[in-house]
Every structure is written in C-alpha cells, then in structure tokens.
Symmetry: C2
Subunit: 146 residues, 2 copies
C-alpha cells in the first residue's frame, strides 16, 4: 500500500493528465482523500476541508469526488439509508467490513473472493463484471464497549 503522500501525487497526476486544474480546494481534498482512514463520507470531508477553506461548498466536495470516481481513482460505496462513503486508497472493487455501531469501514484482506465470483458465474451463466461485497457486524472496539 502506498503512503499518503505518494497516493496524493498519484491523484494529482491523474487530474493533470486530463487537464483538470489543481485548485487549492482540490489539492486540499486530494490530500484528505489520500490520507483518510475508515472511508469518509462527503459530509465528513466537507467538515474537514472547512478548517482550511471555510467558504468551501459541499457541492465542490461532491464534484471532486465524482471527478475522481469517473477517473477510476475513487470507489464510491452507496448506501440507500445512509451517506455514501468513499474509498480513495483502493479504487478496485473489494470486500468491506462495516461496523453497525460506529459505522467504521475496513478493508479486509481476503483470498476467497475470486473463488466465490467464479462459483457464481459458473452457477448462473452470468458474465460477472463487478461486485459489491459488504459484511456487517461489530468491530473489536465496539464488541468490548457495548
């Protein structure tokens, strides 16, 4: 896994590559996205960036996130009953582990995803293109403190 600074450089390079401007607001957002743990929501990023740029609009946060999403650099986790969350470290589809109590989201290291995907495809004749694998439960911290 690359460190935060190099991940930020990657994101910045991708924007430049497509002739998008690196405005101060975007730079600040890229740094937040590259360094964030736990998969922040747009509202969370909005709260964080207001510390540096108090006049920033929530729309700017969404615009930047969608820009990175369209470039394939950010994975959007949509929830119908909660804020969307964003994964700026690993844009490829992968399983997530969601704590039902503190709403923290982790990326587990697993090996069986490809096997399960293949089983599903063979079972149904589907051409599987992507996936969204969410596990819900309690993180170790919340198991202790409940």
């Amino acid at each position: 896994m690359p460190d935060n600074e190099s991940r930020f450089q990657q994101l910045a390079a991708r924007l430049k590559e497509h002739d998008y401007r690196l405005t101060p607001q975007r730079v600040a957002l890229l740094r937040l996205i590259a360094s964030s743990e736990g998969h922040p929501s747009a509202a969370h990023l909005y709260e964080q960036i207001k510390a540096q740029f108090p006049t920033t609009s929530l729309a700017t946060v969404y615009k930047t996130l969608n820009l990175l999403k369209d470039l394939g650099e950010v994975l959007e986790l949509g929830f119908s009953d909660d804020d969307n969350r964003y994964d700026g470290s690993r844009p490829d589809p992968h399983p997530h582990l969601i704590c039902m109590r503190c709403r923290k989201i982790l990326d587990p290291q697993v090996s069986l995803v490809d096997d399960l995907t293949q089983e599903v495809a063979e079972q149904t004749g589907f051409q599987v293109i992507s996936h969204r694998l969410d596990f819900y439960g309690l993180c170790p911290d919340c198991q202790q403190n409940q």
Copy 2:
C-alpha cells in the same frame, strides 16, 4: 423452495399471528410478493396491484413491504442510485446477481459464502452479523442480445 401458494399462506399466517388485518389490498400484495420473480421494486408492485385495486396508493405498498420486512419475511435490497428491490422468497441474507442491462436480479446457489464470511471475521476480529453480497454483470440473455 416452497410454491407460491404455500409461501403466500406463510406470509398471511405471519400477519395474523401479529394481529395485523388481512385486508384485500394486503392479500393482493402478499400474493404478488409470494409469486414474483426477479425481485420487484415497490413501484413495480404498485403497477401490478393497480390492475386489481386501481385506487391503491404507493404508500400502502411501502407500508406492507416494511411490515413484512420488520417481521423478517422480506429482504430489502437498497440501492442508492435506483429503486429498492424486494425479495419475498428468501428473507435471509444471500448473494444476488444483478444484470446491469435489464436489471433482473437472481439468487445464485453458492457454497463459499460461509467460508468467505469466516475468512473475513478471522482476518479482522469482527463479529460478523450479516452481509450484502451483490455481483454485477450480464445475464445470459443480455450477453446474446447486446
């Protein structure tokens, strides 16, 4: 898998069991839910039931679905960018296969879910309670007709 009629009887019994009334609208909805393939949306059920009860409100559809959901008899599949879909045949969490073209949703028969769940739990220390496993792709029909 039970046939549609017995599934309907199950649903009806569950409502009676909790002293909910079996109104004509609810009976019609229960039959639709028990017999539906491909995981209908609330709007889809609404269109269907209007053939029998033209004055039915969309709110009644949602109320009945939420009733069954709270009783654990219907599984709600929420999508942040699309209508929610409802599984009235298998209320327990299980993988789904979603066609990106015709939006059909299938229930694949797979054996590796428990293994993957266990791997995730051991890897992270999470107490895994539930899951939501969606695979996206093209169904056999849409592979041919594209």
